[in-house]
Structures are given as C-alpha cells and as structure tokens.
C-alpha cells in the first residue's frame, strides 16, 4: 500500500505508515475497517507511535475494489475519537467506489497504452483484420515490410498484399480463425507495394470480444526472405558441390584411363624394343655359330676365339633383354594377390633348374613344410627361381653347391633381422601373420658393406667371374615388393649366404 494522494498528513506519518495495510494481500472481499478510538484498539507498535504522534484518534479504512479485487484504500482520520454513522460510511464508500472506478480505468488505459506501444514498435509486421478480411490495424513493422503506410492499408482488404496465385490461402485462414484455431509459422509468399515478392512466415490468431466471440484475426508476419535465400544458397552450393564431385570423379576416371593407356603404351614400347633388338642378336649368334661350324678350321685359333666371343656376347645380350623384360613387367602389370601354394612354386623353380642341379651335382633340399602365402604365383616363381639360380651359381670353384629352402612362420617374439626398411605393411615387428622363406647356400658369401647394393640393377659384385646379368636380385626385390613382402640377406664372406623373403601368411 503506497500513498497516492493525501490531505492533512505529515511526511513523518506517511513514511511510518507506508506499506501498512489492514488487509492481507490477496484477501478475499476486504471489508471496511473502523477504528473509533485508537487508544482502545490493538495496533502494530511502530504504527501506534506514528498515529499517536500525528494526533490521530479515530480512523476508517475503506477498500477500493474492482470486481472484488483490492486496488487500494481510502483512509479518513480524525483527531478525536469518533463514532461513524451509517450515512457517513455510505458516503465514504461511494467516494471510495468512484476512486476505485477511476483507478481501474486508468490502469486499463495504462495497460492498453503499453500494449499498443509494443505492437506499434515491434519489428514484426502486426496486422489485425476483421472476419471479412478488412485491415483494421497496421503497425510500423507492417509499413516497413509491405511498403504501405497505415493510411493506405487500414480499410483495405488483406488481399492488398497477397499475390494472385496465393489468394486461395485467405479463405482457409479465415476458416481456421472462425473456429478459434491458431495458424502458426505458416510459410508463404506475400507482395510488397512495389510488386516484389516476399517470403513470409505467418502466425494468425483469433481476436475475441468481451463475450468471447471471434471477431477478427491478428497476424504476425515475419520476413524470412533472408532465411529462404540462405536456404536456396545452401541448396545451390550443395548442387554445385555434387556437380564438382561428379566432375572430379569423371576427371579421375579419365586420367586413370589415360594413365592405363600410357602404361599400356609403355609396355608395348618396352616389349617392341626387346622384340626388335632380338632379331639382330639372333643373326649375330647364328652367323657366328655358322662361321665356327663351316669355316672354323680356316679361321685358325684366334679367329675361332673372336667368333666365339661374338657368339657369347650375343647370347649374353639376349639374356639381358629377357631379364630386363621380366623386370619391367614387374612394374607394369597389375598383380592380384591370392593365397598361393608355396610348395608348388618351389617345385616349379626346382624343375626349371633341373639341368643345372644335375650338371653341378648340387644337393638341394626343398622339402616342406610349406605354408600357404598371399602372393602372385608367376611372380613368386620368378623370385624363387632367381634366388635358387644364384645359390647354385655363386659357389667357390670345385665346390658342390648345397642349398636348403625352407619356410618359417614368424613368431611375435622373434623379429626378423630385417636389413631393408620395411615396405608394405607398417608393423616393424614380426607378427604371427608372416612367413619367412629362406634360401640358404654354401656359396662365396657377401660382405656386409655390399649387402645393400647387390639388389641394385646391373650390379655384379664378382664381375664376370660368375655368369649373370646382374638383374636377378633386382627382380627378387621388385617382385617381393609387388607382393607386399620384404627381402633381405644374412651373410659373411666365405660363410655362405642366407637369403630370405617375407610374405603374408594366407
């Protein structure tokens, strides 16, 4: 309770009495309170002091009521004890009622003004219309959004802002409203005064009179043009991205096809070179052989020597071409890895070298067991052939080659003595998944400082002391690499060599 108007009361009293009320807040039907004699009535202490000090001896409190709701109080005070007559109280109550009425009206006006300001200054367009669709109110937001001033809009039909193709929406909206239903966040298109189209989100709610009857609609229209544009841009960006991706895929396919084509061309080129070079070699070998056969006697020893060298060179070069072709094909071909029968590959290599094994009276042990490995059989055969051929070849003069081929399944605690950086799978330690194939010989051995370079193309450590093209180990390394395996050697000069390759177990 706060003082709003007074006469004859001091500041001191008012301050002390501020906030006091004979009625509790929310009390239903607060009634008139008369205090005919202050002295004989119990009052709260601070208030009694203030009343005594002020000289008040009698009081009456009249509630200001609006529909049973307490708005405030009218207080009359006397400086001597007073008996209130019914007429007095009636008059006071009448005054109180008038005051209540006035206060209520003012409060209502305040509320109305506040609400009106909220509507007026809202950013959103807030429009109200009657059930015939005639615009009744038009806020600044609506002026901004649609371009019509309040004077131009009020009194017009709402179709003023509806594009022709959307006119059918209005009856539907009105129907909802008539039934007291809300239309929320309805996305549609409306039209600006200048004819341009606007993306709008509408919320329409029914307006009711005091009787609760629906008499019109209140629309809030929010401009979602920006949002719609952002959505469109996102969609376009997505479409563009898809187009780019498709383009990229197409380009990749084309490039791959090109690459494949040029790889094929390269292969054809390499092949045709090898093929064409072979012709003259055949001639050189053949005619030198014929020379030796038909005119050997006439040539004399030196002449025969020359003819022999020509012949051997031709044969050597032919072997070089063969090996080079094999090596280049290891790079070219797409090889698919599949479980391969190691025992079969070993047998194949052994039978290819049968003659040589026999001639050198070599002892070769290729008995199993041979686990299955993930490999490419022709390449695996090539690798084993080259390793075995070397083992048979590089023995000291007069020594019988003794060769052992065996397989070992790697255990996790037994890492390989890997000489080379690992290629293919990245686990540095040996795991259960690998098979190491050993080719062990009793040959001349290889010094540690050379164990790296022997795998290089055309490297022949012993030069021409031993036959060979210097391509064999390069084929072994490249072939193993293509099968995602690893290769290495353990050796010391004079102590034989143990070559190993590692392939994934299958």
């Amino acid at each position: 309770m706060q003082f709003k108007a007074w006469r004859g009361l001091s500041d001191v009293y008012r301050q002390a009495a501020e906030g006091h009320s004979p009625w509790k807040p929310g009390q239903e039907s607060p009634r008139l309170v008369c205090v005919e004699n202050v002295a004989s009535t119990p009052l709260p202490e601070p208030l009694r002091d203030a009343i005594d000090h002020e000289g008040i001896r009698a009081l009456a409190f009249l509630p200001l009521l609006s529909h049973g709701r307490l708005l405030g109080k009218l207080m009359v005070s006397y400086n001597s004890p007073h008996t209130f007559s019914p007429d007095e109280l009636q008059l006071a109550q009448a005054i109180a009622n008038q005051a209540a009425f006035g206060i209520e009206r003012k409060q209502g006006e305040d509320v109305t003004r506040r609400l009106a300001a909220i509507v007026e200054y809202s950013d959103d367009a807030i429009i109200s219309k009657d059930l015939n669709g005639i615009i009744v109110s038009w806020n600044r937001g609506a002026e901004r959004l649609f371009g019509y001033t309040v004077q131009e809009a009020v009194g017009q039909h709402i179709s003023l802002v509806i594009p022709p193709e959307r006119l059918g929406e209005e009856p539907g909206i009105i129907e909802h409203i008539r039934h007291g239903e809300l239309v929320e966040h309805y996305e549609t298109v409306r039209r600006h005064k200048d004819g341009s189209l606007l993306d709008i989100s509408l919320t329409v709610s029914p307006l009711r009179n005091e009787k609760g009857e629906v008499v019109g609609a209140s629309k809030i229209a929010r401009d979602i043009t920006e949002r719609k544009r952002a959505e469109r841009m996102v969609r376009e960006a997505q479409a563009q991205l898809l187009r780019h991706a498709a383009n990229l895929e197409k380009t990749v396919l084309e490039r791959t096809a090109d690459l494949r084509a040029s790889n094929e061309q390269l292969e054809a080129f390499v092949y045709s070179i090898a093929h064409d070079l072979r012709g003259p070699l055949r001639s050189m070998e053949g005619f030198s052989a014929m020379l030796l056969e038909e005119a050997g006697a006439a040539l004399g020893e030196q002449g025969r020597n020359y003819a022999n060298r020509i012949n051997r060179s031709a044969q050597f070069m032919d072997q070089l071409l063969t090996d080079l072709l094999a090596f280049s094909q290891l790079n070219q071909q797409r090889i698919a890895l599949a479980p391969a029968d190691l025992s079969r590959a070993v047998q194949g290599a052994l039978s290819l070298l049968e003659n040589e094994i026999h001639e050198k009276r070599a002892q070769v042990d290729g008995s199993g067991p041979w686990p299955s490995v993930l490999a490419h059989p022709p390449t695996l055969g090539q690798v084993l052939y080259n390793l075995l051929s070397n083992a048979l070849k590089f023995v000291a003069p007069g020594v019988q080659p003794v060769v052992r081929l065996r397989a070992e399944v790697c255990a996790a605690t037994n890492p390989p003595p890997s000489l080379r950086k690992e290629r293919g799978p990245s686990d540095p330690d040996c795991s259960e998944d690998w098979v190491r194939i050993w080719v062990e010989d009793n040959g001349i051995g290889i010094a540690p400082e050379h164990q790296e370079q022997i795998f290089r193309l055309f490297t022949r450590l012993e030069g021409e002391k031993y036959s060979g093209t210097g391509i064999g180990l390069a084929i072994v390394q490249k072939g193993t690499e293509r099968m995602n395996g690893r290769v290495g050697v353990q050796s010391r000069p004079g102590q034989g060599s143990r070559f190993w390759i590692e392939l994934k177990k299958a």
């Binding site: 092949y271 093929h275 072979r278 012709g279 003259p280 070699l281 055949r282 001639s283 070998e285 053949g286 005619f287 052989a289 014929m290 056969e293 031709a314 044969q315 032919d318």
Partner: protein
Amino acid sequence: MDENQTILLVDDSEDDLSLMRHAYRAAHFKASLQTVNNGEQAIAYLSGEGAFVDRAKFPLPTLMLLDLNMPKVNGFRVLSWVRTQPGLKRLSVIVLTASARADDVKQAFDLGANSYLVKPSTMAALIAMICCLRDWLEYNHFPALEPGPSVETPAAKGS
C-alpha cells in the same frame, strides 16, 4: 614326309631365312624348302600366280612355316586368307615368329594355325627345334589338298 614334299617358309628377314636354311641342313631335312620374303609373295606362291605359275618349279607345299611380323600383308592376313580358299584351307600352317605374346598366340589359333613356335635365340636351339619338327613330320598324316582356282578376296589384292 619325303623328298617329294615341300615346305614353304615365309619370313621377311633375310637373316632369319639364312639361319633357317642352315638349321635345315644341320637337321638333315629330307623335304625341299621353298622360301618367300613377304605375305604377298606367300599368297602368290600358294595361288600359283605371277612368278610362281610353274608348279614344277614351285610345287604346292604340304606345310607352311609362317612369320607374323611382316610389313603390308602380315602373317595373320596370310593365314586367314588361306583358310578361306577351298583348295588350300586344309594346308598345315605353323606360325614361326619371334613374338611370344599371349595375344598373338591366341589370335593365331583363332585364325586356324596348327601350331605356334617361337624362334629361339641360339643356332643350337634352332637346330634342336628343327629336329623336333622333322621328327613330328615323320609321324604326322597330312590331308590331301585339292588344287583349284584361287577365290578372289580383298586380302589377295594388294595391301
């Protein structure tokens, strides 16, 4: 096979022809050897045309050894031509070439070759191969070829 029968060797390399002749002698081949230098000549020989009209001098062969890589009319064309000629289509044709390519082998057999041999790189190996051929000829039975006029096909007319 005997002295009365003829082998026609077709190869565009004079060197290879010389080497082959030497290998034949070394293998003691009984049959007579005729050689031509290109595909057109091979067709002319088999047709008995041009320089090869005299069948006494240039008898129809029992077996043709055919190189593949020849300019203008290559071995494949000669082979497919032969297989279209009624009087020649049973002719035994062995492809003898430097190419070991799988595609060439396939194509040769698709066109009806009877065998595919790859020229070895040494004389010794060539002689060994010819000896094999000679031995095979001893065992093989050859069909009769009815001599007749050649059929005009595009392959026969130039390149």
